[in-house]
């Protein structure tokens, strides 16, 4: 990215009522001067210009206090403007800051003069690839002030190292670390139900899950065992009953009666089954369910006929009528309110399909049979059940007529059947407790996950979900730690290599510029350290600082103008000459704000270069807010402000 600054515009900013500072050549408005020397007496607005430039380039939103600080104090006005014209990779961009002094707010305006209609938008709207680069910290590297150059050389500051991070985007890696921490925090918040974020907590959850898994296996084994026992117990009971029957059927004295009882019982069981099904089938018809129900339905049928339900008029009739111009009575349907009334009526009537259903209901009860009493069927069924019970008892009494030995056997069989039946009831209860999914049963028997398979499965699913979430969070946390460690390694190894390279290139540049190797950039540890064989002058240090910065930008993919306020400050004449001789060689566009007292020594050095413009800007005291502007070199060199002391 190659950026040049072509113009600055001020309107109602501090003491500038209206001022344009052109930085381009008359012959080619898209090409800036290599060097623009802007001479402004103290208090004219140099610092204001530098601060505004630094803000506008990175799109900084200014706070109310700062906005109001730009309001002119010597005359009344409510609005102000500061704008720059930039050329970025051959495209022109106009950026403007509009100040609303009444409300203490400002807003941006961006336009691209090359585009049709100016491509104007009322925001800071440079293309994303430029916006991403133009951070506040990056801007500080090329919109430069004396304080920053001092900080680069100050061993209590870390400006030099920080600059490397900004320019080579290593600060973005620091931001990635913060982003990773934010993601981890969000992850923890999203799984707050789990509340397990440590390896220890995770291990505890894993143990619990393992225990539940084993419980589920054990419960299933138990279920299988109980079911097998239930089957074998049932079989044993059946075998014993057969044995009992055999004992009775093989005895000659009671054989005939036994067969008779067995046959009758079997026949009664059939009767019971048939009787049950007959009653059930009759009850399945609502009109035959009970006399009361039959009466109710008859009543409904009569009412429907009496009330002429369903009514023959359907809601469709009113809907169609509302579309007609004339009512069935011949009156015209003139307006929407009449139509609305008719449609309201439609809602009170059944739709045609509703009527069909209602007619089916009506039809189903219109010709229904009278209620037939079920009591005979009920009494018959009851007598079959009683008779069967009596026969079972009689069959049981047959064994009393067996001889003593067989009676003993029969009694033993009976006792065994009682014992096994009791076992079978218990077994079936265990089975039911183990496999029931019925929540009412589970509650009734206070079953838990260690007693019921369904509850155990549910608990296991729940535990697995928590475990998945927890392990996900813990793994994520480990990943974040690893990622941050990697970032630190990358930053650290990158910055070491960059420093090594910068020191080497800066020293080559310094020796070329100064024509000797007397002064070198020794190291970069927070700030830059300068070393010299014959000692290091202030000017030499400053020149090394500029060489360091120009080397930084040289290897950077971004070429920017170097804008500097008071580059030589209170340096002596010799140093000023050194600096003025060097700086122009370092940057493609150099914009220097100076005061008349800094001219001496510095301008002479710069004057050797071609492609330099000399601008003098000062307050015209004849009119409030008026600014005088000169482009003449002679005027520049002779201008002297009364407010500035000659320091050299």
């Amino acid at each position: 990215m190659n950026i040049n600054l072509l113009k600055l515009d001020f309107k109602n900013i501090r003491d500038f009522r209206e001022l344009t500072i052109p930085l381009f050549k008359e012959k080619d408005v898209n090409t800036p001067f290599h060097i623009s020397l802007i001479q402004m007496p103290n208090g004219t607005g140099k610092t204001t210009a530098i601060n505004l430039l630094r803000s506008i380039v990175c799109g900084e939103i200014l706070e109310k206090e700062i906005v109001l600080s730009y309001q002119p104090t010597r005359y009344k006005c409510d609005e102000g403007y500061f704008g720059v014209l930039l050329i970025i990779d051959r495209d022109l961009y106009s950026l403007g800051m509009h100040f609303d002094y009444r409300n203490g707010v400002m807003k941006y305006e961006t336009s691209r003069p090359k585009e049709v209609g100016g491509g104007k938008s009322f925001s800071y709207d440079l293309p994303p690839y430029i916006r991403n680069v133009m951070t506040k910290n990056f801007t500080r590297l090329f919109v430069f002030d004396g304080e920053f150059s001092e900080n680069i050389l100050d061993n209590k500051k870390t400006e030099a190292e920080t600059s490397i991070k900004f320019l080579y985007f290593l600060d973005r890696l620091e931001l990635l670390k913060i982003k990773a921490d934010t993601l981890l925090e969000n992850k923890r918040k999203s799984t707050k139900d789990t509340k397990v974020h440590t390896q220890q907590g995770l291990t505890k959850l894993e143990t619990e899950e393992k225990k539940l898994k084993q419980t589920l296996v054990d419960l299933n084994k138990q279920l299988k065992k109980f079911k097998e026992e239930s089957v074998s117990t049932s079989q044993e009971i059946e075998d014993l009953e057969k044995k009992n029957d055999e004992l009775l059927s093989e005895n000659e004295t009671i054989q005939a009666e036994f067969i008779e009882f067995t046959t009758k019982i079997s026949s009664l069981e059939n009767d019971i089954r048939n009787g049950t099904n007959i009653i059930l089938n009759i009850l399945r018809t609502p009109s035959q369910f009970s006399l009361k129900m039959n009466d109710k339905l008859k009543n409904l049928s009569e009412n429907m006929s009496k009330l002429k339900l369903p009514r023959s008029v359907s809601s469709e009739f009113f809907k169609e009528l509302s579309d007609e111009d004339e009512c069935i009575c011949g009156r015209p349907i003139l307006n929407d309110s009449i139509k609305k009334k008719i449609l309201e009526k439609a809602e009170q009537y059944l739709a045609a399909d509703h009527i069909t259903t209602t007619n089916c209901i009506k039809g189903s009860i219109r010709n229904m049979d009278d209620y037939k009493e079920l009591s005979n069927l009920r009494d018959n069924l009851y007598s079959y059940i009683n008779e069967k019970q009596q026969l079972i008892q009689a069959k049981d009494l047959l064994k009393l007529r067996l001889d003593e030995k067989d009676q003993e056997k029969a009694e033993k069989i009976k006792q065994e059947i009682i014992r096994l039946s009791s076992n079978l009831v218990d077994l079936n209860l265990y089975i039911q407790s183990l496999e029931t999914k019925n929540s009412a049963f589970q509650e009734e028997f206070s079953l838990n996950e260690y007693e019921n398979i369904n509850l155990c499965q549910k608990k296991l699913i729940e535990k697995r979900k928590r475990l998945d979430e927890a392990s996900d969070t813990v793994n994520f946390s480990n990943g974040v730690s690893l990622f941050k460690k990697m970032m630190d390694n990358i930053i650290s190894s990158s910055i070491d290599k960059i420093k090594e390279d910068l020191i080497s290139k800066s020293n080559t540049r310094i020796s070329q510029l100064m024509g000797n190797k007397d002064v070198v950039l020794e190291k970069i540890e927070g700030c830059i350290y300068v070393d010299g064989k014959k000692g290091v002058s202030q000017g030499q240090s400053l020149a090394v600082a500029y060489a360091f910065l120009s080397t930084l930008f040289e290897d950077s993919p971004h070429k920017v103008p170097f804008i500097v306020d008071s580059p030589v400050g209170s340096l002596d004449l010799k140093v000023r000459r050194e600096v003025s001789d060097l700086i122009p060689k370092l940057f493609a566009q150099l914009i220097v704000f100076i005061i008349s007292s800094e001219r001496n020594g510095f301008v002479e050095g710069i004057g050797k270069y071609e492609d330099v413009q000399f601008l003098t800007i000062y307050k015209d005291e004849r009119e409030t807010g008026s600014i005088a502007f000169h482009t003449d070199k002679k005027f520049f060199m002779q201008f002297h402000s009364e407010n500035e002391e000659v320091q050299v």
């Binding site: 019971i272 089954r273 009787g275 049950t276 009653i279 059930l280 009850l283 399945r284 018809t285 609502p286 009109s287 369910f289 009970s290 006399l291 009361k292 129900m293 109710k296 339905l297 009543n299 409904l300 049928s301 009412n303 009330l307 002429k308 339900l309 369903p310 009514r311 009170q348 009537y349 059944l350 739709a351 399909d353 509703h354 069909t356 259903t357 209602t358 089916c360 209901i361 009506k362 039809g363 189903s364 009860i365 229904m368 079920l374 009591s375 009920r378 069924l381 009851y382 059940i385 019925n438 929540s439 009412a440 049963f441």
Partner: protein, 152 residues
Amino acid sequence: MTFRLSNQAKSYFKNIFGKGSDDKLDILWDEYYICLMIGFSEVKIGDEASADSEITKTFPQAYKDQRYEIMASLIASEIDRRGISKVKDIENLMLSILDHNSSTELSSEGHRLMNRYVAGGFEIIKENIREVNELHMFLIKYYDILINVTNE
């Protein structure tokens, strides 16, 4: 829109329910119907929330022929419960209970009411028949409470 029965009712009937068995109830709708008709007969509705288990979305094949009589029983019971007799009120009742677009021709309100009558009917049954082991004995006791409550 579904026919729903409480888990408690399903548990209550478990000994007399068994698919393909001669002497047991064959489908869950039998249990639903047994409760529903006592509810209709006694105009007793129960708590909708207790019907926590869905059994079917449509009338089962075995009850297809009786579905209009069942709907008629619902309308008749609601007329009783609401104490209405005017044509307009009965028509409004039908509008709220019936829905010709539904597969059962009952609206969601119709289903909701059916499920509430089932819950009400089940309360009557379990109050009068504590334990259910055999279908034939259950039917005798069921018929007896039907006669008793009908005579009350």
